[in-house]
């Protein structure tokens, strides 16, 4: 069976440090996967390597997306192929209005091209869905926004681009209850609006409450140590990562 994403025997890291060891992971279309693990396990690194972050090097192994080896592809090529990474701390880009940014990244995708008016209607719908003030649209990208607002902007992009694979890297970190609820709704809306696959990297089980989780993966010290169903989340919530030799609490709030 052809998977949407297949990672085989991946060893990778930065120039001076090996982080991921012999990682195998496959994700099928139209599913929700959760990647859990203690701090420093390499979860975010895996997300960034799938996205093609040049700060990391693949030492061996392969990454296939939709049957194509993308290991050598640039991040922009991976993005246009349908991979999306939501950042933990989205970067500020002074001088670039949010709306101009959204319009530019949408027009780059032939399947999403729309007239200015249609585009505005679509953006408005998503803003409403995310309880987002449309006044944000003329503000500069991520500049002066709170942590929660920045995460909403990431969700706005997710719903606008409808990628085939969305990796959410601790999108829930540092959010208050209201913002958490908005992000959670955004994830749910994404799963309902297209047949994209979600890979949620998280410490926080609360964010997963609205989602039907198909598979859970556990990473410890850069290795995949377990794959299971949604029942794994409850177990880790109760026991932490002790059974993997790690003593760390899992946040449930």
């Amino acid at each position: 069976m052809k998977h949407l994403l297949t990672i085989s025997g991946l060893n990778a890291g930065t120039e001076d440090k090996s982080i991921l060891h012999d990682v195998d992971l496959y994700l099928d279309a139209n599913q929700t996967h959760v990647l859990m693990g203690p701090n420093g396990a390499g979860k975010s690194t895996l997300g960034r390597i799938i996205m093609g972050d040049p700060a990391y090097q693949v030492e061996s192994g392969s990454i296939e997306f939709d049957g194509q080896d993308i290991s050598e592809d640039s991040p922009e090529k991976r993005s246009l192929a349908g991979i999306f990474l939501s950042y933990q701390a989205p970067v500020e880009i002074p001088g670039v209005p949010l709306y101009s940014f959204l319009r530019t990244i949408t027009q780059k995708r032939p399947e999403l091209k729309a007239s200015a008016r249609q585009f505005r209607i679509r953006v408005n719908e998503i803003c409403e869905q995310l309880d987002m003030d449309p006044g944000y649209l003329t503000r500069e990208l991520n500049v002066g926004f709170s942590g929660g607002e920045k995460k909403k902007i990431e969700m706005l992009q997710l719903l606008l681009l409808q990628p085939r694979l969305a990796i959410l890297d601790e999108t829930d970190s540092g959010l208050d209850v209201d913002a958490l609820s908005v992000v959670s709704r955004g994830m749910q809306a994404y799963r309902e609006s297209c047949d994209g696959t979600l890979l949620v990297i998280t410490h926080n089980t609360r964010i997963l409450e609205r989602l039907h989780v198909d598979h859970t993966h556990v990473m410890v010290h850069g290795r995949m140590v377990e794959r299971g169903g949604s029942e794994l989340i409850g177990r880790i919530d109760a026991e932490g990562f002790e059974r993997y030799g790690v003593h760390e609490e899992v946040s449930a709030s």
């Binding site: 996205m51 093609g52 972050d53 040049p54 700060a55 640039s74 991040p75 922009e76 993005s79 246009l80 999306f84 990474l85 950042y87 989205p90 970067v91 880009i93 002074p94 001088g95 670039v96 209005p97 709306y99 101009s100 940014f101 319009r103 530019t104 990244i105 780059k108 995708r109 007239s115 200015a116 008016r117 585009f119 505005r120 003030d133 449309p134 006044g135 649209l137 003329t138 503000r139 500069e140 992009q157 681009l161």
Partner: protein, 360 residues
């Protein structure tokens, strides 16, 4: 007509002369002594960023002088200062914003002729207690023209000013703005956005004095320099003794787009009070690695990311222009820089977005 050499935009604290950023010299037509008018405005003593001599000249040369007074508690959204650079128009406006009043001002200096025209706009503003000022300024003129802008403002207790300046082109666009935050809890948000191309020169002086207690000032400049453009930018925040609890911040980001541009920046924080916070920073060069990474993860190559940043100066300007003349002045630059098709897309996008900014 005889001329005099006048120095403009001198910052409060100067640096080595060889760095060539202490001022800009301009040849100005000499004004006949017999035609001098006494400046008896109650705002005559408000310092303007262009400097005292230049402000005096701009007052005397102004063919159009007016004083606008907004009554306490009133709201006025449509104050327009329209300068036709091709007609070498020169204006002076004194604006008094009454206590608790709210006012929006648009200053546009527009033109397209490749002639050596000299225009000017002098704007002196007093914001009384708890008033709010929203000031947008646009300069978009022909490649050989000179436009001088001098703005001075004084903010009383609790007054707030939000200023956005756009310079999209002129042979020389000189913008001097000074703000005196005399009242406690007064605040200023000042943003400069620019696009300088070809042989254009941009010369800017921002000077802010924070005198009242718990005042806040932010200066945020960003823009693009391309081709053979030259830019001087001075930003000074002076945290004066007695301004306890105040905070001032300056930030500049420049995208250098070409090997022949000249970019000079003089960011200065002066401080004679202990209980304050002040910081400044500048990012000069290409787009940062983090920004490139983020934009790449959204499908944009480095060239496309840089084009987005350049185009965004025009986008942002268009979003903030509230009348046809100013929008057309922005679109003229867009057509010249990006071509008809991109400019049309820009216009459509802006039209579709109309009203969104009002919720800010």
């Amino acid at each position: 007509m005889p001329t005099i050499t006048t120095k403009l935009n001198t910052p409060p604290a100067q640096t080595w002369n060889y760095l060539k950023i202490n001022d800009v010299s301009v040849e100005l037509p000499q004004i006949d002594g017999d035609s001098l008018t006494e400046d008896d405005s109650q705002l005559a003593n408000i310092a303007c960023g262009c400097g005292e001599g230049a402000a005096r000249w701009m007052f005397q040369i102004a063919a159009n002088r007016r004083t606008i007074e907004i009554e306490p508690g009133d709201s006025e959204e449509n104050i327009l200062v329209d300068i036709d650079v091709d007609q070498a128009e020169r204006s002076c406006v004194d604006l008094i914003v009454g206590e608790g009043a709210q006012v929006k001002v648009l200053v546009i200096a527009h033109g397209q002729e490749d002639e050596e025209n000299l225009s000017s706009a002098l704007l002196r503003i007093l914001c009384k207690a708890d008033s709010k000022l929203e000031l947008t300024e646009l300069v978009s003129a022909g490649a050989s023209s000179t436009h001088l802008s001098g703005i001075g403002m004084e903010l009383e207790q609790g007054a707030h000013a939000e200023v956005k300046q756009y310079s999209l082109g002129a042979g020389l666009s000189s913008m001097g703005l000074a703000a005196n935050l005399v009242g406690s809890n007064s605040s200023l948000e000042l943003a400069l956005r620019y696009m300088s191309r070809k042989q254009e020169k941009l010369d800017v002086n921002h000077a802010v004095w924070q005198r009242g207690t718990s005042t806040k000032a932010t200066i945020d400049a960003s823009g693009v320099l391309a081709d053979h453009a030259e830019k001087n930018y001075r930003a000074t925040i002076d945290l004066v003794q007695g301004c306890k609890g105040s905070a001032g911040s300056e930030q500049e980001t420049v995208l250098v787009w070409g090997d022949d541009v000249i970019n000079r920046t003089l960011p200065t924080i002066m401080c004679s009070e202990d209980d304050v916070a002040g910081d400044h920073g500048a990012t000069i060069g290409s787009v940062s690695a983090e920004q490139i990474e983020y934009l790449a993860a959204r499908g944009l190559s480095q060239d496309e990311a840089e084009l987005l940043i350049a185009r965004s100066v025009l986008d942002d300007a268009l979003f903030h222009m509230s009348n046809e003349t100013s929008r057309e002045a922005v679109l003229r630059v867009a057509r010249d820089m990006l071509g008809e098709e991109e400019a049309a897309e820009l216009a459509e996008t802006s039209a579709a977005l109309e009203g969104a900014g009002s919720n800010e």
